[in-house]
Structure formats: structure tokens, C-alpha cells
Symmetry: C2
Subunit: 199 residues, 2 copies
Amino acid sequence: MQIDIEFFWDPGSTNTYFAWKLLPAIAARHDARIVPRAFNLGYVFRHHNYAVMAEPPPKIENRKRDLARWAEKYALPFRFPGVFPIKTSVALRGAIAMRRWDRERDFINAVLEAYWERDDHSIAEIGGLKPLAASLGVDPEAFAEAAESDEMRQALIDETQDALDRGVFGAPSMLLGNELFWGKDRMDFVEDELERNSI
Amino acid sequence: MQIDIEFFWDPGSTNTYFAWKLLPAIAARHDARIVPRAFNLGYVFRHHNYAVMAEPPPKIENRKRDLARWAEKYALPFRFPGVFPIKTSVALRGAIAMRRWDRERDFINAVLEAYWERDDHSIAEIGGLKPLAASLGVDPEAFAEAAESDEMRQALIDETQDALDRGVFGAPSMLLGNELFWGKDRMDFVEDELERNSI
């Protein structure tokens, strides 16, 4: 039986980029399927009344060093974007819209690579997403119309709210059945869970 | 050349327990030496004006699940203590005092096992630490006198401040030369660094 890994993502999350890049090899080893779920962190932060806490400079410095270590260890051309944070709701709506063309995962990959590898923050606007759609063989105008539709706006709210209702609280999160894993540094636990399920 | 792993610890930190239990095998594989550094989190939080932020219940729930997964994966008899948080400065002073008898690492191990495996929160008081000292062959009265001395009170402040001055911001942290690693989930990066240094 093929196992689904629900992957809750937001393109504004650095760790979403890393987890997304590490997950396919793990899924392939266990013949699992990655099922993306849009998780609008802006909506979530408002929902939880999150405040971003000021952090001591050494902690911020260490986070940068840590990200560089991850990029090196896994040979990923990551670089921290010059413009951060950005608005992510258009890209999330675009991903949901891409289900119509069955290109959601390719689109997510294109969005994450644009922002986290090429420092391209145009993914915050529909104008920056249209060329990505075109590169996947999807008509950019039809894509833009779908991504900007009221239907997709509601779909993003519903999908994020559904995740919250199911206990997801951050991105990246991976849900296998009822087992929730949070963060790029829990990939080995995801793999353990897949192994347990394949017995 | 033997490499030193400076290990910044506080017994009130759950992740200190896990990192402490995982580190010896890693150090042994690379003939590295673990050098404990007392890091008084209470002092640090005051220093940084940290506020503990209210977290959404699903996040708290997931943390518990995550800790249970770590305990299972590494076969550790961890259980979350009934009394938490506790005062940790006496145990930290006791550890520094134990250098006089060359039993610091054994003492740290005894303290962490008492609190994180046996739910024994008496380690918050000198009375709970004396039996641990005795079990290590150290005269409990001489130990208590040292641990409660003004000299040790100052030593704990100095050691914690020195760590802050060197860029340590949390526990557990591991410092190898100038490379700082934070958290129980960076043990593989510590091992990578040891490998790099042994070439």
C-alpha cells in the first residue's frame, strides 16, 4: 500500500525549502507519495497571535551558519534571499491552482528554487509566477486567472484552516496518518515512520 | 591531536539530557574530549530579557511526541519530570565544584539521569545532590560546602558570562574551536566537524 506524506509548506519558510529538497529521496526509498498542502503562515500567525520575538545577535548569526551547513551537507545551491520576508499567498494559491494541470509539485519546486536559490522575490506577485507556469507548459494567462480567482482565495483559507484543525502549527510539517513531524531536522524520523509502515 | 568538544549545559534543559547521552559515542569515534561548561539558563534569560512565549496547544503536544520519539530511537529511559521547571544553579555549581575531585562528568550524568529518567527533582537543592556526590565516592559534606561557597557562586556567574561573551546563546551547545552547534538535533553536524578536523 502506498503511503501518503502530506507536506505542509509555505514558500516564505527557509526550512520548507530544505525539507522539500530532502523529502523526494526518502519518499522514493519507501515508494511513498508526497501530497502538498498549502499552509499560509501569514494566516497562521494571525490566527495564533504570534509575535516574532527579538533574538540575540549570536542566535541570528548561528542560524545563518547552520543554514550554510545544511546547504553544504546536502549540496544544495541555497542562498538567503535579499528581500525577506515576502508575501506568499499568491504563490500558495498558484500551487493549488496548478492541480488543475497536474503540475503542483513541479510548480512548488520552481517557486522554492526561484526564491531560495536564485534570490528571485518576484514570486510574491502573479507577474513573477506566470513565467514559471509557462516553463511548465501551462498557459500563463489561464494560470493567472485561476490563481487570482475568488475560488482559489477561498481554497487557500480552507486548506490552511483544515491543517490547523488537524493540529498542524508550522511549516514544514509532514503528516503520515496521525503522526506529525515538524521541521527539516526530523527527516530521519519521517523515514523511521515510513519503515514502520512498510512492515 | 585530541579535539575538545566544549559542552554547554543546564540540567533544566530537556535537550541537554538528550545531547549529553548521544555525545559520548560520537566523541569516542573521533577520540575527542568532552569538556563541560556550566551555562545557567536562568541567568541567560534574564541577560537577554527572554520571555517565554505562549505556544499553541498542538505545538506543545507535538513537542511531547517528538521527545518520546527521540527516547525510543536512542533507547533512552527518558520521562518528562512531574516538577518543571526547577532551579538549576545549585546543580551547576555542584558540577563546577566536582572538578576538584575530577568527577564533573560523572556528576553531570548522575544529575541528568536523576531528573530526566527518574523524575527526581531534588537535584534543585543541595540536599538532593549530596547522595549523588556520595555515590561517586566524594565526601558529601565537603562537596556541599564547596558547591555552596561564594567562590562557586562567582565561578558559575563567570563561566556563564564567558560563554555569552563567546557567542553561546542556548543549551545544549557544542563548541569545537570556533564552530558552534546548538541543539540535540545537530549531532550529525558535530560529527561532520570532528571528521573534518581529523583529516
